[in-house]
């Protein structure tokens, strides 16, 4: 099977529509995943990765791996992945020199058929790590 791997820059942001504190106040388990376990990429990258063929994106950094839903967004520049700040995006952020690294990180992006983790499984992962 052909594997397409591409270098991307990851930026985590806060968006009104995809805000974790909002989801934790009003949402439920389903809406949490829908609104937060996502990544925005440029439509050109979307096509390049052939995202319509497989449902999800696997994003890996030096710090970890996460599987999220990919969404095409024209406003995101090519070569950039944008993720809402949440427990999902924080699977691949990290610490360097006692400072948080959550912006402008180099990541690899791949398409996958693997399932998106729900909140419980991430919590368990944190517990067991």
């Amino acid at each position: 099977m052909e594997v397409i791997k591409t270098d991307f820059i990851l930026n985590t942001v806060r968006r009104m529509e995809n805000d974790q504190s909002k989801e934790f106040s009003f949402g439920d388990k389903k809406s949490l995943v829908e609104k937060l376990a996502i990544a925005f990429i440029n439509p050109k990258d979307f096509d390049k990765l052939n995202l319509s063929s497989k449902p999800n994106l696997k994003i890996s950094s030096n710090f970890g791996i996460i599987i999220v839903k990919g969404i095409a967004d024209e406003d995101v520049p090519e070569g950039t992945v944008l993720m809402p700040i949440s427990i999902w995006s924080n699977q691949i952020t990290g610490v360097e020199n006692s400072e948080l690294r959550y912006k402008n990180m180099r990541v690899d992006v791949d398409i996958t058929e693997e399932k998106i983790n729900d909140l419980n499984s991430l919590i368990n992962k944190i517990k067991e790590a």
Partner: protein, 435 residues
Amino acid sequence: MKRSVCSGCSLLCDDIMVKSDGIYIDEVFGACLKGKEKFDQVTSQNRILSPLIRKDDTLQKASWDEALQRTVDLIKKSKKPLIYGLSNSSCEAQLKGIELAKLINGFIDSNASICQGKVLDNAVNSGITLTTITEIINKADLILLWGSNAAESIPRLLNKVLFSRGKFRMTGREIKTLIIIDPVKTASFNTMGVRDVALRITPGKDIELIKVLKEECCAADSIPSEGVAGLDKDDMKRLLQHLSGAEYGVIFVGQGLLTPQKNSNLINELLELVQMINIKQERGRITLAMMGGHFNMNGFDHVALSMYGKRGNLHFKDNQILETDENIISKIENEDFDCSIFIGTDPISHFPMSLSSKLAKKPIILIDNRNSATLQLASIVLPTTITGIECSGLAYRLDHIPIELKKIINPPSKIPTDEEILNQIIQKLKSDGGN
């Protein structure tokens, strides 16, 4: 119908209108969606209304007495407690938080330290003054959003600073120039007019832009002809012209500038650039303004500064402040704690996995009003009121102006405020004979 203060974000809009009978909130006028959602939290389905204690690995309802006793027991056993959060609490609660830290020989810090607190630190060191919203409304003719999406994080900011008509000017939007430096075309870009400048920089290259602009300030024609950081030479020249020609320019420093790039302190570099521009300035000056998420992001800094002359990272030992270079991140990273108390924050969602898993290994006491990822791991959860709606208190706006928040309705099920909970813990610890 009363004018009230919104505690939805650090802009603390004091012009919203709330219609309420003292029990329910009927309607909110003037607040943005984010503010309205804050009011909706009062009755949200994920609100916690009773204390919870973890038994057999599940959180179960408990009485206040039991929950507080457990909290005190946990704290007494702890040698190196960590207290963190308080950006969503009033200054009164922050004072109590510091008092608790002192009593239990703990380490206390607020969310500001890993966020906008850096701007304040650096600004104080460089001597550059920050500005206030009113000054911006009345005087500013140049607004620069650098790495910040104001339209989403502080929805009414642009309304106030860009579209208002100031006291000393007859016109509004027409004379104000907006410059946005951001890799992503955010919603803020839609508020641009024909004379404004949109700079879509390559992600992570802000540092290069700042350095080149600094060079250009010292010696003209230092900008390479192919441009820098994905920006055109002409655009950069225009940027500099706008900055040095402005009568009153304001740079809003966003999250995008808070992470270090290439191991240099971006904020410091930016401040140096501002100083250079201000020397060149003939008509006016450039100042900076901070942007914060949590409504009382700045409060802790002020409380801690006034009490101990230190903005954050307070480490107590035998009633004394210890000199320390540690911050909350290094504390967790080095596992230099044995119990953590979080107040109005959700670190498990905010912190990278590597830190979260270290936090999860030690008992967590959570004081908050709603469900969160941290709640899923907490040993004890103490529910609290929503400050600014269910209790009053002081908060510092993003421009460091203190604003008095008002109580609008009574909290449900006699839930205590942050201040009261912290006070009860302190009193209980004292009467139980300390540790």
